[in-house]
């Protein structure tokens, strides 16, 4: 029987309350939202917090998908299921629905949250690549107020983020740009499994050329939520199969996967290339009204 080590449980009544608790309890305190990363880690005793601060009651403050003219703001406690079901979100950022369809399974998606996924920062976790491809930024709150960190600086490496002691992620902001679209492709062994490899792409078109493109990779090595050399290669180029092949190769060159039960390093490198090509092609088709 897997049971977490003993801890004390506190239920936060507001974000400020949660932050005050973390400030007081220090680095032995952890926030729990959906719990579908943290509780398994606690059951395996990989995580042994002394205090658990439950933020699930904070739906008014932390659970929303709001649209402004040039930005979407998503509360950290927004669940996978809500991200999957939002037609408005899918219309602007189809990459979210592409990814959410293949994140875990429907019952897990009822609990898991956007904030939890990003803060877990598992290199195989999908939403970090999705958010970085979309050039998102993260709002982190502490007792002094809010600070905003770009997704690329938020994700510091495997299981490491910019959130420090006494802070919590409260919101993800994603810029809405005209003539843009996005897509996500993942290969998994079976429904609900972690990715063997996956790739997400977002593009902004300027007439017939790509003004801006970003690609994030999952499960093929650390710090690949945005592959900057791909963005450099895409800028100002007209989309073509040759261009996709070129950036697919850049993805493969930057991938650094390990051979494990999900596949060999060679296979995952091949997937990084192929899934980059497919995601980019799909994103461009969508942005130019061909899909």
């Amino acid at each position: 029987m897997q049971v977490p080590a003993p801890f004390e449980y506190e239920r936060a009544t507001s974000v400020d309350h949660a932050i005050a608790l973390m400030e007081r309890l220090g680095d032995e305190a952890r926030v729990v939202a959906g719990g579908h990363s943290l509780i398994p880690m606690m059951k395996l005793r990989l995580a042994m917090p002394e205090y658990l601060i439950d933020i699930n009651d904070l739906t008014e403050e932390l659970q929303y998908i709001r649209f402004t003219e040039d930005e979407v703001r998503i509360g950290a406690l927004t669940r996978h299921q809500q991200l999957l079901e939002s037609d408005e979100l899918a219309a602007v950022f189809p990459i979210f629905r592409d990814a959410e369809k293949v994140i875990a399974d429907p019952v897990v998606r009822n609990r898991g949250t956007l904030g939890g996924s990003l803060c877990q920062a598992d290199p195989s976790e999908d939403l970090s690549a999705v958010c970085d491809a979309l050039n998102a930024s993260c709002v982190i709150r502490n007792t002094g107020g809010d600070r905003v960190v770009e997704m690329h600086d938020f994700h510091r490496g495997p299981y490491e983020t910019a959130v420090i002691e006494g802070e919590m992620l409260t919101e993800v902001r994603i810029p809405i740009r005209p003539n843009s679209s996005s897509a996500y492709h993942k290969v998994e062994r079976r429904a609900g499994d972690w990715a063997v490899a996956s790739a997400g792409a977002a593009v902004t078109m300027d007439g017939s050329v790509i003004a801006d493109g970003r690609v994030g990779l999952c499960a093929v090595g650390p710090n690949l939520t945005n592959v900057q050399p791909i963005s450099d290669a895409l800028r100002g180029q007209a989309p073509s199969e040759e261009l996709y092949a070129t950036v697919g190769q850049i993805a493969a060159d930057n991938a650094n996967p390990a051979t494990d039960t999900r596949g060999t390093a060679a296979y995952k490198t091949h997937l990084a290339k192929e899934l980059t090509v497919r995601s980019l092609r799909k994103a461009v088709e969508r942005a130019t009204g061909q899909a």
Partner: protein, 164 residues
């Protein structure tokens, strides 16, 4: 700590450690052994119960987190009118052999039919995709859920058509 919740319509208060998982709270503290404890890693889905009408994997949910909420387990499916159509469907269509996955399958099926009274086979397959059955090959489970859906639709039609 003292944990209070409403389970299958009854208010319950029980002393338990904060680290107690909902599946063990239900089975060991309350004797509600209809909810099964399976893989312990949120993969198999036999421990699915509802928290506020939403299916969750109770091996990955603290009992403390369910405090103040409504929980429904497989024991709560049957009503004074008899078995839930989903339970009947599993009997009629041989939706189980060993029965290990059955409580979780039925809780997810009930939640699905409450949202979508006429789901396609694809929708049913997706709904139970986080749950594992090692006996039936899923076909009879899907048929059981379809049987329940069709029975409920017939009942709804006949109620509509009955004289006021």
């Amino acid at each position: 700590m003292e944990i209070s919740m409403n389970i299958n319509g009854d208010d319950v208060t029980m002393e338990a450690e904060p680290r107690t998982l909902l599946v063990h709270f239900l089975r060991d503290h309350l004797g509600l052994t209809g909810t099964h404890w399976g893989c312990d890693t949120s993969n198999c889905g036999t421990c699915v119960v509802w928290v506020d009408e939403e299916p969750v994997k109770s091996c990955t949910h603290l009992a403390a987190m369910a405090g103040g909420h409504r929980v429904k387990t497989v024991e709560g499916l049957e009503t004074a009118d008899g078995l839930d159509p989903v339970q009947e469907g599993f009997i009629q269509c041989h939706g189980l052999q060993c029965g290990y996955c059955t409580p979780g399958m039925m809780m997810t099926a009930r939640a699905l039919l409450d949202k979508d009274p006429d789901p396609s086979e694809e929708v049913i397959r997706e709904a139970i995709s986080g749950q594992i059955c090692r006996c039936t090959g899923y076909s009879t489970i899907i048929r059981s859920i379809q049987w329940a859906a069709s029975k409920e639709r017939e009942t709804a039609v006949s109620l509509e058509g009955s004289p006021a």
